[in-house]
């Protein structure tokens, strides 16, 4: 496999049997594809030999940047990454972050430094393990467990539905949906196979999903939603881990978990804010569209999915990173350099964004990059709201792209989905309120913002946007997928862009958002949210007949929402939004429980900057409400009322323009109320 004795990077020549569909093939873990990164040639050679002796497929690399590009080029090319902590070109933790965000692969850290704080840092950054050098072969023999565990968890997260009941339904649907999506979105049999695999896993784990007793905290979409809500409630400045923890009130969650996640979130927000600049233009467009046809939420591109996936899965840091990356990508303008997010992904959003008449252009520029990030609640700033319009677009586009691009983009997707929802909301919701869709934060924002679109985005409701069938189901899958790692991404992708076939629709609209949203939630938790989005996105019914949604919503049942294809996504959003918004404004929000399955919504109306929901009636955009303190979901809020046009196409066209929704998340201060319905 070595390309040459002198080369530092060796690429496995054969595909491991392990790669495909079955998580555990007969030979597993033989053929496990490992990427090992270490600047010390001696160590690198030793590790390579050890890993080979374990019958793994090894690729060695002595530079972090090279490793990242390798990972990006071969999205599904690796199963696990082992990296040294101290490297000259990039800090190992940074690499860990990137990988988590972009590819959502398990990463094992190594170092000769065994001091507690460094090891702790590894843990908080989301490393799956931390090995002390000199590494023994025995330590490497078991690394495959991390891969399996991760997949298992992701699967769970994706399918995990707070309400429990929904899960069943979701699960059923999701698997099929995912498969569809994946094929359309990202292609990769691998993805599909993964999905299937996950489905299988789902079946097994269904029963214990509710109590995620895993030792490692996986930030599912739901959990992230709760987190975001808590952060919004406290205010991003005042959000300290202890208080967040208290607000979240999740048993088993430690302050440390929250702290690390917060760190990632902040990073994400920061990154988004960079993108948000572009978003500004976008946001307005988003919000301005009252009758949001949620427009086709651009299919969650690989990025979205990743974002979404990331949301759920990635450790806080990676999530943030991912977001940042997503943002960076799309926003050419914004200086955010999303190294990880493929430009492609971003573009997809942008295309969808094109759809939005208003923000289209803007989106193009910034959205492209940022859109992706939009989903990521991390850094949306208040001004983002304005950008929401755009961002959402871009976001959507991004999401879309993300989905397609790669499974590995799960994390990105996740992000995207998160932002997407926002954007979607905007788009789909036309209502502007969409922006806040982001699943994670969305809950909060949704309520206030009534961003129907956003929500939808998550679950891949994006479909709705386009009028294509919004298959709720697919969305569900999309949502669920988010949490799922790369494999799931596929599903997300699907949902976002195209529910099964209608991916495009999703993508355009806000599907991405949904996808993102779903991710944001941590994929599981969002079911309700996603549903909302899905429904909302239904392009057809721009009307925010949320009322219907109310019934759908049922916050706890996400799946139901998803299923309601007929229900305009907007409705869902609205419902959700209204509920969250708690303002009575909702238009119809009969739904007492806003979309957030987590039930956070209700409490979050406050974060939403404002009545937003009220206006949501048609503009889900109220994204801003979301308080993503840092992340500007706003940017994601694409609420732009995506026209019926497929976001997809819009995105595709826009590709570049999609300025990432610039973290619209941060709609702090956005008053969506002006979103015309």
């Amino acid at each position: 496999m070595n390309i040459g004795s002198g080369s530092l990077v060796t690429v496995p020549s054969s595909a491991a049997s392990w790669k495909s569909s079955d998580v555990v093939s007969d030979q597993f873990p033989v053929g496990l594809r490992v990427l090992v990164v270490d600047d010390d040639p001696t160590c690198l050679r030793i590790l390579e030999k050890m890993l080979r002796n374990c019958h793994y497929e090894v690729t060695k690399c002595n530079r972090a940047e090279v490793a990242l590009s390798l990972l990006r080029e071969n999205k599904n090319g690796f199963d696990i990454v082992i990296s040294d902590v101290h490297m000259p070109d990039m800090d190992g933790f940074k690499l860990l972050e990137h990988i988590g965000l972009e590819m959502d692969l398990p990463v094992i850290m190594m170092s000769a430094d065994d001091s507690k704080d460094v090891v702790m840092k590894g843990v908080t950054h989301g490393a799956y393990d931390y090995l002390i050098k000199p590494v023994r072969i025995e330590a490497l023999k078991n690394i495959w467990q991390h891969v399996v565990r991760k997949k298992k968890h992701e699967w769970k997260d994706n399918n995990f539905d707070q309400s429990g009941s929904v899960e069943e339904g979701d699960r059923q649907q999701k698997p099929s949906e995912d498969v569809d999506y994946s094929s359309s979105a990202n292609e990769g049999n691998w993805k599909n196979s993964k999905k299937r695999k996950e489905e299988e896993e789902e079946a097994e784990e269904r029963d214990d999903t509710s109590t995620l007793k895993k030792p490692r905290v996986v930030w599912s979409v739901e959990l992230h939603q709760q987190f975001v809500q808590a952060v919004h409630q406290l205010g991003i400045d005042k959000a300290v881990p202890k208080k967040i923890l208290e607000l979240m009130n999740v048993p088993g969650l430690t302050r440390e978990n929250v702290a690390s996640h917060l760190q990632k979130y902040r990073l994400y927000l920061r990154r988004l804010s960079g993108v948000s600049q572009h978003q500004n233009g976008l946001n307005s467009s988003f919000i301005g569209r009252p009758d949001a046809t949620f427009g086709t939420i651009s299919p969650l591109n690989g990025l979205d999915i990743q974002a979404i996936a990331a949301a759920g899965q990635i450790p806080a840091q990676s999530l943030a990173t991912l977001q940042a990356a997503a943002l960076g990508r799309s926003a050419t303008k914004s200086a955010i350099s999303v190294p990880l997010v493929d430009q492609r992904n971003l573009f997809s959003f942008e295309n969808s964004k094109l759809r939005f008449p208003e923000g289209q252009q803007q989106l193009n520029n910034s959205n492209k990059q940022i859109d992706l990030l939009h989903g990521i609640p991390t850094t949306m700033e208040p001004k983002q709201l304005a950008n929401l319009h755009h961002p959402s677009q871009s976001f959507v586009g991004m999401n879309m792209q993300v989905n397609s691009t790669s499974q590995h983009n799960n994390s990105v997707l996740m992000r995207m989905s998160q932002s997407q929802p926002r954007a979607q909301m905007l788009n789909g919701a036309n209502n502007g309120s969409q922006v806040s869709r982001l699943p994670l934060s969305m809950q909060q924002s949704l309520s206030s913002e009534g961003i129907p679109g956003g929500v939808l985005a998550q679950s891949g409701i994006v479909d709705n946007a386009r009028g294509s069938v919004y298959n709720p189901v697919s969305q569900a899958s999309s949502m669920v997928d988010f949490s799922v790692k790369s494999k799931e991404l596929q599903s997300y992708n699907f949902s976002l862009g195209s529910n099964s076939s209608g991916i495009s629709t999703l993508t355009n609209r806000g599907m991405l958002q949904e996808a993102m949203n779903s991710d944001i939630k941590g994929s599981r938790g969002f079911p309700s949210n996603y549903d909302i989005f899905n429904e909302l996105h239904q392009p057809k019914s721009q009307n925010w007949g949320l009322q219907n949604i109310g019934s759908i919503f049922d916050a706890s049942h996400h799946p139901s929402i998803q299923g309601t294809q007929g229900v305009s996504s907007q409705l869902l959003l609205q419902q959700g939004i209204s509920s969250t918004h708690n303002n009575g404004q909702n238009r119809n929000a009969p739904i007492g429980k806003p979309m957030y399955s987590n039930g956070e919504e209700s409490g979050h109306a406050s974060p939403m900057g404002g009545p937003q929901l009220n206006s949501v009636g048609g503009n889900m955009l109220a994204v801003k409400a979301e308080r993503f303190p840092e992340a500007d979901y706003r940017s994601i809020i694409f609420p732009e009322q995506f026209g019926q046009d497929d976001l997809m196409s819009a995105f595709l066209k826009q590709q570049g323009s999609v300025g990432p929704v610039e973290t619209e998340f941060g709609f702090d201060g956005y008053t969506l109320d002006n979103l015309p319905v």
């Binding site: 050679r45 030793i46 030999k49 000199p134």
Partner: protein, 137 residues
């Protein structure tokens, strides 16, 4: 002849281990060796020599700088120490640790003295290992 060489090699290795020049890590490396890579350990040790030469040179240069950049020195030594530990060069590692202590104390003279010790241990190990591999081949 073969057997004698083997015995010699085994004896040398035992002696290196007993005297602390090498530790179990070296044994682990030998265990990795197989028919496909019969000279794996020697190959790795050669990589180590290349790396070490670079580290030693850089540390020397850094020590000559005034004022001394202790952070950089510490980083360099940390890497050299890590590299040494990967092949089981126990004595060299110990010297590196001592160097780091002086570095933390910002004791430039102490660093310079210990560094001589580092170089000495490294040179000794290199000689012994070369003799060992000669016997092993």
């Amino acid at each position: 002849m073969e057997n004698q060489k083997k015995r010699q090699a085994a004896y040398m290795k035992r002696s290196l281990l007993d005297q602390g020049y090498l530790d179990e890590q070296f044994i682990h490396l030998e265990e990795l060796q197989d028919d496909a890579n019969p000279n794996f350990v020697e190959e790795v040790v050669k990589l180590y020599y290349t790396d070490s030469a670079r580290f030693i040179r850089n540390i020397e240069l850094a020590l000559e700088n005034a004022p001394c950049d202790f952070t950089r020195l510490d980083n360099l030594m940390y890497q050299f120490k890590g590299s040494s530990s990967s092949i089981g060069a126990r004595r060299v590692q110990r010297q590196c640790s001592q160097f780091q202590e002086y570095c933390n104390a910002k004791n430039i003279e102490g660093c310079k003295n210990i560094f001589q010790g580092v170089k000495h241990e490294y040179a000794t190990l290199k000689t012994k290992l070369e003799a060992y591999f000669q016997m092993e081949r």
